[in-house]
């Protein structure tokens, strides 16, 4: 029973990790928060739904939803961040709140405000591994998340472009003097951030099998909780933070009552912000 819940928790948590990773990429780079991130997640889920409805195989719907969500996030950068780079730091916060609400309403116009049911895209197989029952959906979610997380971690750590991203994050002017086109780095980072939210959206929808235009709000906040627990700007921290929240959430529902879920999670959020703002893995200066 416990092992089973652990697997469920990891599966759910890995989608939170993807969200938190996207949050922390942009926040770590620009020191700015994209409040519309959760709504990009929602939009990605709907895009995936539409592509699946067209009869596309899951992997194709997933990739197209990623690209679509990434493009939406590039639009956010252009509209809500770039013109406001020299403005008061609250301005992009407000502009992305506005964009998020616009996105919710666009989704409502396209897909309706009633829950949309996700089509059955793959044969669901169940595997009995000792005491644990794992479905093919779980495996797809875990494998996709782990692949993306390891891929991004290594990309940022080892490639030339990843170094340019870190240099831009620390000293944008110096990076540009070294030959980095920082606008391109920023656009690319936003794209990746949005693509991760989009994948997370589709994967989450595969679990719950239905979505509404309003799921982005809680998901966005949960992503933020995961990011803060892991330490803002810390990629690995965000991944671990997401997994932790997934496990806490599932364990709470299994052994406690679901009604306490958000009290515990957001209580934890508050506790971290007040008592340990650098998170589990961040350094004090962040």
């Amino acid at each position: 029973m416990f092992l089973q819940q652990l697997v469920n928790g990891l599966t759910l948590g890995s989608t939170y990790s993807l969200l938190a990773l996207g949050f922390t990429l942009v926040l770590g780079l620009l020191k700015m928060l994209n409040i519309a991130h959760g709504d990009v997640f929602m939009f990605g889920a709907f895009l995936g739904l539409s592509f699946a409805m067209l009869g596309m195989p899951l992997y194709l719907a997933l990739i197209l939803a990623m690209v679509g969500a990434g493009i939406v996030t590039i639009i956010i950068e252009r509209l809500c961040f770039r013109p406001l780079r020299k403005a008061h730091f609250l301005m992009p916060l407000l502009s992305t709140i506005a964009f998020g609400i616009v996105l919710q309403n666009v989704a409502t116009q396209i897909w309706g405000s009633e829950p949309s049911r996700y089509p059955q895209t793959t044969e669901i197989a169940q595997f009995q591994l000792g005491p644990v029952l794992v479905s093919s959906i779980d495996i797809i979610i875990l494998a996709t998340s782990i692949l993306l997380m390891v891929g991004i971690d290594q990309f940022v750590k080892r490639t030339s472009f990843g170094r340019a991203m870190r240099a831009t994050s620390e000293k944008p002017q110096t990076a540009s003097l070294l030959g980095v086109n920082i606008n391109w780095v920023i656009v690319f980072t936003f794209f990746v951030s949005g693509a991760l939210a989009g994948v997370a959206g589709v994967l989450t929808a595969l679990v719950y099998l239905q979505i509404t235009p309003f799921i982005g709000i809680r998901q966005g906040l949960i992503g933020m909780v995961a990011m803060v627990i892991g330490g803002v700007g810390n990629l690995r921290g965000a991944m671990i933070g997401g997994l932790m929240i997934g496990i806490i959430e599932i364990m709470n529902d299994a052994y406690f009552t679901a009604g306490y879920r958000d009290i515990i999670l957001f209580g934890l959020f508050l506790a971290f912000i007040v008592f340990k703002p650098e998170g589990l893995f961040g350094t004090k200066e962040q």
């Binding site: 030339s160 170094r163 340019a164 870190r166 240099a167 620390e170 000293k171 002017q173 110096t174 990076a175 540009s176 003097l177 070294l178 030959g179 980095v180 086109n181 920082i182």
Partner: protein
């Protein structure tokens, strides 16, 4: 090969550069000296593309480059070592050096790395260490090495001796002499005029946004007014130079 013509620049309403003319030829070390706030860093910002001038031209290899963004200017072969070195503190020494080669995409950087390690053995020893853990002198060496990785045709250095002990200052200037070859040009901004004149072929004196004197290193260091104002002679009012 490199020429600044009538550059004027402002921050908001304050005019900082009031028409600068200056030239650096291949194989030369040219120094620009001036007191705090004279506009030295501002001029380097204009040349490197960080700041767009309100007037004037920067001619590099026959082309006006004032409207070109910094990342493209470095690709053309002008590299700025910023005031305060600006080492990437969260990246290792090796990563800093590799970033130095970022402006040469697709090229093999191993040769350049070897050259840098030969010239700065300390950087090879410390290659896995984070930038922020280096001492001031080592950071300056890293800044020089990182610039070398870009294989620039024009090096610009903003007060490389700043905040270093005299022994390290000598070491840094020795390295600058080593960088001098027939096909590179060096523009050296300094407040340490004595050291700068020792290595420079020519020099300019900048005061409150204007070049007030120009000449060879010897001419300038024997100039009475320069001696008074910049080489620790009798204290003179800086304005005297403009008479």
């Amino acid at each position: 090969m490199f020429e600044v013509k009538g550059i004027e620049a402002r921050y908001g309403t304050i005019q900082v550069l009031k028409g600068i003319d200056l030239e650096v030829r291949k194989g030369e070390i040219v120094t620009l000296i001036g007191a705090n706030g004279a506009g030295k860093t501002t001029l380097l910002s204009v040349i490197s593309g960080i700041l767009t001038p309100s007037k004037g031209e920067v001619i590099f290899e026959g082309e006006n480059i004032v409207k070109i963004p910094p990342h493209k200017i470095v690709r053309r072969g002008i590299c700025l070592i910023q005031e305060g070195r600006e080492v990437l503190s969260q990246m290792t020494v090796l990563e800093n050096l590799l970033m130095g080669g970022f402006s040469r995409p697709g090229e093999d950087l191993n040769d350049s790395l070897d050259t840098v390690f030969q010239m700065f053995p300390i950087l090879q020893e410390r290659q896995g260490q984070l930038g922020k853990t280096l001492s001031g002198g080592e950071q300056q060496m890293l800044a020089l090495g990182r610039a070398l990785m870009a294989r620039p045709k024009l090096f610009m250095m903003d007060e490389p001796s700043l905040g270093l002990a005299p022994k390290l200052v000598n070491e840094v200037f020795a390295k600058i002499m080593e960088l001098k070859t027939a096909d590179v040009a060096i523009l050296l901004v300094e407040q340490n005029a004595r050291k700068a004149f020792q290595v420079a072929d020519r020099g300019y004196v900048l005061e409150i946004g204007k070049i007030v004197l120009a000449g060879s290193g010897e001419e300038l260091s024997s100039n009475e007014k320069v001696r008074e104002a910049y080489l620790g002679g009798k204290r003179a009012k800086r304005q005297d130079l403009r008479k």
